[in-house]
């Protein structure tokens, strides 16, 4: 799914004392199948931005285009977009309402008006895609699962829509490292199947090895955007606390005179890089 914005500006409560410019002139274009990370400090407009992509918020000025079609106030068109582009909110478990995991995940499919056999098929596929066993989980209450399982069920509850794009707002918040790893595997899997994935995250480290694009926002403006390496290079000048930990260590090594690359964000790659520099140095 091609996602574009042109000079997108959003102002909350315009003309009141609470007026707040959440986004200012954001222009971007993400190709179908991209994996994009949106990062930035709290209050930088990340959540506001993604709520424009399926028309929950409409721009104060500027345009949002999905596959070239501009989002407006046409409710039927917005409904069609929402079936193709899924949005997972922060702490999505809070939207649970059904008695069983099956009903929770079936909700989106039931809203499409599908036959019950087709709904059941899609629920099964969706649960298996997030790595939960259908027979084991279908009858359980979504309220009695572990935090990590709840997060997975919440994501699975959008998958029956057979989406072309999935947007997740802080999907790793509150998960332990096991939950994070499982989430990363799921996102990698969705991406492999050609889905456009957009992840909002404070921590660039969590999903950076999957990303091919980063958008870094601050106070509603773009600080850096584009390929991962270029953005990290830009963030190394003044936004060091936001760098992935491994990248930050490499940057510090370079500052101390080591001849290593800073475009490294995984432990294994960092080790290789350091070992090869060390070897080259002593030999």
């Amino acid at each position: 799914m091609l996602i574009e914005t042109e000079r997108l500006t959003h102002i909350y409560s315009p003309g009141t004392p609470w007026e707040c410019w959440a986004l200012e002139g954001i222009t971007l274009s993400w190709k179908p199948g991209s994996f994009v990370l949106i990062a930035g400090p709290s209050g930088s407009g990340k959540s506001t931005l993604i709520q424009h992509f399926n028309g929950l918020l409409l721009p104060s000025s500027g345009r949002v285009l999905i596959d070239g079609e501009e989002l407006g106030s046409d409710k039927a068109a917005l409904g069609r977009i929402r079936r193709r582009l899924g949005l997972v909110f922060q702490i999505p478990e809070q939207q649970f309402f059904a008695e069983t995991v099956f009903d929770e995940v079936a909700f989106a499919a039931a809203n499409l008006g599908l036959s019950s056999a087709e709904v059941a098929r899609r629920v099964k596929v969706s649960l298996e895609r997030v790595g939960l066993d259908y027979e084991q989980f279908r009858g359980r209450s979504p309220f009695n699962l572990s935090a990590g399982q709840q997060r997975l069920v919440a994501i699975a509850s959008l998958l029956p829509l057979e989406l072309e794009a999935l947007i997740l707002d802080e999907p790793a918040a509150g998960l332990d490292s096991g939950g994070r790893r499982q989430l990363a595997l799921l996102l990698a899997d969705l991406r492999r199947q050609g889905m456009t994935v957009i992840v909002v995250s404070h921590h660039l480290g969590d999903f950076i090895s999957l990303a091919d694009q980063i958008l870094f926002l601050e106070r509603g403006r773009v600080v850096a955007a584009g390929e991962v390496e270029g953005v990290l290079r830009r963030l190394a000048q003044g936004y060091e606390p936001y760098l992935p930990p491994v990248t930050d260590i490499m940057r510090r090594l370079v500052l101390r005179g080591a001849g290593v690359s800073t475009a490294v964000f995984e432990l294994a790659a960092a080790r290789e890089e350091i070992v090869s520099w060390w070897g080259g140095n002593s030999g």
Binding site: T16, N54, R82, R83, Q95, F96, F97, F107, S157
Partner: protein
């Protein structure tokens, strides 16, 4: 539906009305409203309206909010006007529809009552626009204190009021978030028949209740952790003192009531 700015919502500012202490504002409002109900002529209402608009002007409130503030009571005002016009007899017959007649006294009486209602709301909005809800609750608690002698649990009532006020925006924000989350799962809250619309409320109401109970639990725990005890005397961090402006306001309100009563305006 839940995104709209609430009626009479506090507008931050630093005018003299904003700075008056809440109990003084509440008493003055009651006195001024009493004066409003003593007014007997359109001239009096006109002068009163000028005073209210003057106060709006000097407290820096957006005048357009006066119009939006009337919207929820528009039907009550129209209803008053119609009932008065149909029931008050006298003067010249202006309109005759079957058995019903509308007299000139009916129209003028209806217009008078409607104007009085409008002024009642505008004057009250002066209070809610310039007082943060929590200060308002504190002011009411202060004024109810004497009832403690009669074993009315004033502090607890005030606490309930404060908590309710505190969580209204939170719950509104939460219901908007849940609504959006369910819309992302294909629910449409504004299409379909009445039956469909009611059925669509389930995925909104259940998470909202679950969240409210969770919040209540956390709040109770947090309050206990900070030593809250039912019935215990509590002090306030901020204590307001009655200043010259407060005395002046009280005196002016009393003066207004006296003038209106004596002059039969």
């Amino acid at each position: 539906m839940v995104n709209r700015v609430a009626i009479g919502q506090y507008i931050p500012g630093n005018s003299f009305l904003h700075r008056l202490i809440p109990p003084v504002k509440i008493i003055s409002l009651l006195v001024v409203l009493a004066a409003l109900f003593m007014i007997k002529s359109f001239t009096g209402l006109g002068l009163f309206a000028l005073m209210v608009l003057g106060l709006y002007g000097c407290s820096g409130l957006p005048l357009q909010r006066l119009v939006t503030g009337l919207r929820p009571v528009l039907y009550i005002i129209l209803f008053t006007l119609v009932v008065y016009a149909l029931t008050n007899k006298g003067g010249v017959v202006l309109l005759r529809v079957g058995r019903f007649t509308v007299d000139s006294l009916g129209i003028s009486g209806g217009a008078f009552m409607a104007s009085r209602l409008v002024l009642l709301i505008w004057t009250t909005l002066l209070l809610t626009f310039t007082t943060a809800p929590l200060s308002l609750a504190a002011g009411i608690e202060y004024l109810l204190k004497p009832l403690q002698r009669l074993r009315v649990p004033v502090a607890e009532i005030a606490l309930i009021m404060t908590i309710a006020l505190r969580f209204i925006p939170t719950l509104m924000e939460e219901s908007r978030r849940i609504m959006w989350a369910q819309m992302a799962r294909g629910v449409s809250f504004d299409t379909g028949g009445l039956r469909q619309k009611i059925r669509n409320l389930t995925p909104l109401i259940i998470p909202l209740f679950v969240g409210a109970f969770r919040r209540a639990d956390e709040l109770a725990l947090a309050m206990e952790a900070r030593g809250y005890q039912v019935g215990a005397e509590r002090s306030s961090l901020k204590t307001a003192r009655v200043g010259p402006a407060d005395w002046l306001t009280l005196l002016s309100a009393a003066g207004l009531l006296a003038v209106v009563t004596i002059s039969h305006i």
